[in-house]
């Protein structure tokens, strides 16, 4: 019942033919791509063709657990979902926590590769080696919470783990998500709609097997040591105490609290959005870990008044309180808990849901929308009732206006017209996360080159702020000098972004949470490589780890090149490039088009990509050993 972590297995599921089959991953491939996100990138490239319809049966969805997921490596319980995004028409990797990734591995699987589409609603039941495609017609239309409960009852096992879509995913909302049991969400890029297009309501899994490492004792000791140093990190302490929204006061002070659809960087009563407020006022009733995590940043909260009925649910995260809160001009804590609950249950990404509504609110206030065109909703900033109603309507695509918003901000702005594209906070078709990139140049560059669109969840360059000695050390290691730990500088940004890309990709492939290696730094390339080596029983060093990360980033880029994306697509939302920070500590700051162009020149050159087109050079692919995978798109320069 136990197997070595080096022996990886793919569960292939063809939903059209209702067939499943098993496929091993050669160990050499695992070492080359680091597993998880890396193998998923290669599989997606190989198993799809250019121009594949993201919501058609030929799109492929890859659920991948990290290579160390299920071991005692700290905070290594994460997994990913990879497919072509219906929001962007480009590469989509979504990382997610919780317990599903580990459960899948204990069931004997490292990857679940879904292709085809079922003719009627089904769910996938993985009970160790027993895999079954089951009828889900009775679950279709139900919320994620109820579906999770019903699956537990139906399968007679409270300990199953589930990945479930809600009505939004069923109805093809382009920012629908997949909820992992209760606390976690694979959110971005419309990953829920891809699952819905396959008529797959849920994956339920129960695993009773085990995993072994090649050098068990040494692996255990190193991982334990890392666990304790991670738990002792000051960043972890704050994440434990207040969760991700504990950084609201800090963002406020830095003048980076994205508000009113990014037209402001501060909002009155911002403290009501904070994790401190959740704790102090008694909204917080529990803290939750992902599998194997020593930080426990997730929250479980409830409402205190009866205004909205008694609501309790997981979250809200920092991005949720910013996107559904400050960006929509809302600081009513309870209203936010309700909006968060709505998104979780309906199965929608809170970042995009918040930003498509904040865009609509600004458009309404500028009088390019009216009550007639919003189906009767008074969409002023701060109107919580209107926001809640709109969230429900979007999930069910009820009425012409909600149906329009369900297709994302880019499409909505094209339809509404006028100048509304100027305040559509999106690039590549993805709504930007509520991170102000104008005063942080590595962030701006990283967001622009992000293959899935502008957010902090493919690469994050937190170290450039130089808040701690550890982060300044990281910047010195990358650039040779601590002085570059300054987000307003434009020098060395390409180097900083590329280093973080490599580390971030490797971190995720191994299953670690990126907080451990790019926010706290107790997990680093050195000890990750050591664990990889001890776990798999192969000689492996830091350089190989970073190279594995680079391969992932390059294959992901090549996927987008194959879809027709070029340098012109590596942009930021118009407001981020054209409107200066209005007030606060960063007043007057901007990363404009010309500055971004200079950063991009450096970045592409550093990567060995053609600077004019952003297409990887053949020589670069050769150097990385990727010619056999994505040589078809190489730039012959």
């Amino acid at each position: 019942m136990s197997r070595p972590i080096s022996q990886q297995r793919i569960l292939n599921v063809d939903l059209t033919r209702r067939k499943t089959w098993v496929e091993p991953v050669p160990e050499a491939e695992l070492v080359k791509y680091l597993g998880g996100r890396g193998i998923a990138a290669k599989l997606l490239y190989e198993r799809t063709v250019a121009g594949v319809d993201p919501l058609g049966p030929d799109n492929v969805m890859i659920f991948a657990s990290g290579t160390l997921t299920g071991t005692n490596a700290p905070s290594s319980g994460r997994s990913s979902v990879t497919c072509k995004s219906p929001a962007t028409g480009l590469y989509l990797k979504v990382s997610v926590g919780g317990h599903v990734g580990a459960e899948l591995r204990y069931a004997g699987w490292d990857y679940v590769v879904l292709s085809g589409a079922a003719s009627s609603p089904v769910y996938l039941w993985i009970d160790d080696d027993h895999v079954e495609i089951r009828d889900a017609r009775h679950l279709w239309g139900r919320g994620t919470r109820e579906t999770d409960d019903l699956l537990k009852t139906e399968l007679g096992d409270e300990a199953i783990r589930t990945a479930v879509i809600g009505p939004a995913g069923e109805n093809g909302v382009l920012f629908s998500c997949i909820m992992y049991t209760r606390y976690n969400s694979a959110s971005r890029g419309g990953v829920g709609a891809v699952m819905g297009s396959k008529n797959l309501k849920a994956i339920a899994v129960r695993g009773r097997g085990g995993l072994t490492c090649a050098h068990g004792e040494e692996f255990y000791r190193l991982a334990r040591q890392m666990r304790h140093s991670l738990a002792a990190d000051s960043g972890s302490e704050s994440l434990y105490k207040w969760g991700t929204s504990g950084s609201i006061p800090g963002l406020d002070e830095m003048g980076m609290l994205a508000s009113y659809n990014f037209s402001q960087v501060a909002i009155g009563h911002s403290e009501r959005l904070s994790g401190q407020h959740l704790l102090d006022r008694g909204y917080l009733i529990g803290r939750e870990s992902c599998f194997g995590c020593s930080t426990a940043c997730h929250r479980y909260v409830h409402t205190l008044s009866d205004e909205w009925g008694h609501v309790q649910d997981a979250g809200p995260e920092l991005e949720t309180v910013l996107s559904l809160g400050a960006e929509c001009g809302i600081t009513d804590t309870e209203a936010l808990l309700v909006a968060n609950r709505l998104c979780n249950d309906l199965g929608m990404d809170t970042i995009s849901a918040g930003h498509v509504i904040s865009w609509a609110m600004e458009t309404y206030e500028r009088e390019f929308l009216s009550r007639e065109t919003t189906d009767g909703l008074d969409l002023r900033f701060g109107n919580v009732e209107a926001q809640h109603a709109l969230l429900r309507r979007i999930a069910y695509r009820e009425g012409a206006f909600a149906d329009l918003l369900a297709q994302g901000t880019r499409h909505a702005a094209e339809e509404v017209g006028h100048d509304s594209w100027k305040w559509a906070i999106q690039a590549k078709g993805l709504e930007q996360s509520a991170v102000d990139t104008r005063a942080a140049k590595s962030y701006a560059l990283a967001f622009a080159v992000n293959p899935r669109g502008p957010d902090h969840l493919m690469t994050e360059t937190f170290a450039e702020f130089g808040f701690t000695q550890e982060s300044r050390d990281v910047i010195r290691q990358i650039t040779g000098d601590e002085k570059y730990a300054n987000p307003t500088l434009t020098e060395k940004r390409a180097e900083i972004v590329r280093w973080h890309e490599d580390v971030y990709a490797a971190t995720e492939a191994l299953g670690f949470c990126v907080f451990t290696s790019t926010a706290a730094f107790a997990v680093n390339p050195h000890n990750m490589a050591q664990l990889f080596s001890l776990g798999l029983g192969v000689p492996f060093d830091e350089q190989q780890l970073m190279l594995g990360g680079r391969r992932m980033v390059t294959v992901e880029r090549c996927f987008n090149v194959r879809e027709g994306a070029r340098r012109r697509d590596d942009v930021l939302p118009p407001r981020m490039m054209n409107e200066k920070v209005p007030t606060g500590a960063n007043a007057g700051m901007i990363t404009d088009r010309a500055m971004l162009d200079r950063l991009l020149d450096q970045y592409y050159a550093l990567h060995g990509w053609d600077v004019a087109t952003a297409v990887p050079l053949r020589s670069t692919l050769k150097l990385l050993g990727l010619e056999d995978v994505c040589g078809d798109v190489a730039h012959e320069g």
Binding site: Y106, R208, R227, S289, F291
Partner: protein, 161 residues
């Protein structure tokens, strides 16, 4: 195991369900990472946001001891911890039936019942718990510590009033 009583104290309110205890246990006992083979299990009650670690609590009147038809479950009087003689266990599951907590189990592929033995005095699960949900000490020290915490809180209130 050192002389004296060892006690594992569980504080469910502090448990975040990271399940490091399950991994520590299965690795210490079986050399494998497998929650199924762990002697401790974290049960997540999702609808309430509460996590409850469940493990043998060494009942004073342990019902598993008289339930065992072959006398394989016994109390180690040195400590005194309830143990299973694995070489005498016939894997009938009578102890599983008798245990009111579900703390004893015989997972698929195992011929004997698995029960926590407090790792010879240094429980691996508690060593790896960074949240303070699992702690170990001499028995009754737990109540002692709690008494002091309550007394100090009371003292502070008395001083304030």
């Amino acid at each position: 195991m050192e002389a004296g009583i060892i006690n594992l104290t569980i504080d469910a309110a502090k448990c975040t369900a990271c399940r490091a205890c399950e991994l520590a246990c299965s690795f210490a006992k079986e050399g494998v990472y497998s929650p199924t083979l762990s002697r401790i299990h974290v049960v997540q009650v999702h609808s309430a946001g509460v996590n409850v670690p469940i493990v043998c609590v060494n009942c004073a009147a342990a019902p598993c001891i008289p339930a065992c038809p072959v006398g394989a479950v016994y109390r180690d009087l040195r400590v005194p911890v309830v143990r299973i003689k694995e070489d005498e266990c016939i894997g009938c599951g009578a102890c599983i039936t008798a245990c009111p907590f579900g703390a004893v189990d015989r997972p698929l592929g195992k011929d004997v019942a698995l029960m926590c033995d407090l790792c010879e005095g240094e429980p691996a699960c508690a060593v790896d718990c960074v949240y303070g949900a699992l702690t170990f000490d001499r028995a009754y020290r737990a109540a002692d510590v709690k008494r002091w915490a309550v007394a100090k809180a009371t003292a502070a209130r008395v001083r304030e009033s």
